[in-house]
Symmetry: C2
Subunit: 345 residues, 2 copies
Amino acid sequence: MIPVVSAPTERAVNLADVARLAGVSPATASRALGGHPHVAAATRERVLRIADELSYVVSPDASRLAGGRTGRVAALVPHLSRWYFAALVDGLAGALRAAGLDLLLHPVGDADDRVEYFRRLPARRAVDAIVTVAFPVDDAERERLEGLDVTVVAVGGQVGSHPFVTIDDEAAGRQAVDHLIHLGHSRIAMIETLDPEQRGDQPAGRRLAYERALADAGHPLDPDLDCTVEWGGEEGADAMARLLGLRHPPTAVYAHSDEVALGAVRTLRRAGLRIPADVSVIGIDDDPLAALTDLTTVHQPVREQGTLAGHMVATALSGSDPGPGIVLPTRLVVRGSTAPPRGLR
Amino acid sequence: MIPVVSAPTERAVNLADVARLAGVSPATASRALGGHPHVAAATRERVLRIADELSYVVSPDASRLAGGRTGRVAALVPHLSRWYFAALVDGLAGALRAAGLDLLLHPVGDADDRVEYFRRLPARRAVDAIVTVAFPVDDAERERLEGLDVTVVAVGGQVGSHPFVTIDDEAAGRQAVDHLIHLGHSRIAMIETLDPEQRGDQPAGRRLAYERALADAGHPLDPDLDCTVEWGGEEGADAMARLLGLRHPPTAVYAHSDEVALGAVRTLRRAGLRIPADVSVIGIDDDPLAALTDLTTVHQPVREQGTLAGHMVATALSGSDPGPGIVLPTRLVVRGSTAPPRGLR
DNA sequence: TTGAAAGCGCTAACAA
DNA sequence: TTGTTAGCGCTTTCAA
């Protein structure tokens, strides 16, 4: 019986197809594609040409199953809706993509997610590397991660002794507080945030900077001026309202982040106070909105941290040494929200 | 010979383990886990219990290879660094995660990425579904997508006749422009953005709203008041500067997005103009920063769109009908940046 | 209702 | 340098 010519369902091109057309065995084709040694130059070239013509790309699934690599990297990230995390992931995704790696997003925002995530970790073994994105990992979690035999890279923080890319939060905080001190402020309030998820040293760094900068300048530490709230613009606004209710309100405010700072700014404006004439406000991060709102802040290269972390992952996966880690510099960006004090009354 | 108890290297639990402990064949275990019919209730329960005790989770790779599902969904997204995209992805990721699905991030920001991405599409077959995140897909691309035999869902836009979640951009634009008109403005400028990547109907919708609202109100359409710039706060600021240079500057500005609007606000402030006393400004989106800056805008439920899209994907993959699509309502949010006109001089 | 067997696409010994 | 063989962990006919 003559076989009916059926419309070719778009079956994906596979290794066998490439091998057949190149006139070699699948094993040789695999070696050529994988860049392994011991393949004749002519053979390799032929295989690569055929593969390219067919737009062939290995099946990550099959590859992994057979003991190879998946070409996939997981990013553990608390949430994306904040600029900081999103920009970090954006940079990471770009670098991974350029390296031919796929990014799996593993949101572990709340505590339940987190517990469940680590419980199922072994099953998540389908990645070559895990990047913790501004995600403080506790010791038990770290050990689970390490038992997985995957490359671990931290960005926006550190995890054990794995390669990392981050900034020095205490240094950034010092740049901010010292700026206020240099301007002549001494009653400086701090609006610090304590994210339930953000256990870890980042808050410690920015808080430490405040305490040490004041101490170094010989200014007293007034508990009334030390506000800790949840992260967010609205929370920053509330904190500012509380500060304004003090008998001796501050002449300057050091906020944990730009968004928190903007909340404070809103409260001040609504109270009829002028910035920076009446009160100075400084944030940290240099979120794009800081430039739009003329907010003085400390710039940290966020996207770039993600990019560098992506490079590190690619380097590590290619078998090279990514190095111990990188601490990127931050810098003060003076805009229109800070000035010398003139007294609040 | 008595077998030596070897330290168990943390090998992942597999189906065979579960089957063995449950006293059934791998085939039966697979059926039980997969929720297939024709499995004795007692057997199913036993298998599930064992699996749970062992924290067993199927290997997506092996499952897919064997003809099953991957449990993975790809999100095609232009970039993450803007709040809108990030919030959309955040919602999507949350819903997928709740449904036990993994999210693969496929950034296709620039034109090269895009071409390359679609060229290699067949190889990307390792997902069950693809979600286009505010990503206008052209006809050729859509056809490639459809040849892939995966579920396609669009969020923040539409793709062919695939299920979608979006807003009505023209309606949102009307809410904004009509608000200005109702306040009594007639010289209303538009700062529209034309993202090189954002071919598609979203710009059309917001622009159309402007033209129609003015026409309906009987106000003339002054080409001088129609600015088109690239997306961004700085670009919005530049556009505003140009508008201020006109012989008859506008009394109100309708911006394509909140970030663009904030750029305009900065220019106005720096020019010594008061908002809204001298000039009214309205944006669209209700980015969190709009609340912090007292910007009047039109709210669209961004995160929720992502969440709903995730539900749709889960529904479709479970074999149910996700329905044709959803258009979510937007609403005007009046804050402090709009008021009746008083003339500019 | 259950089990046996085949095979998804690939890689990595081991041979040749 | 290349080919042969044997799985990776799972799902799915087909047979019992």
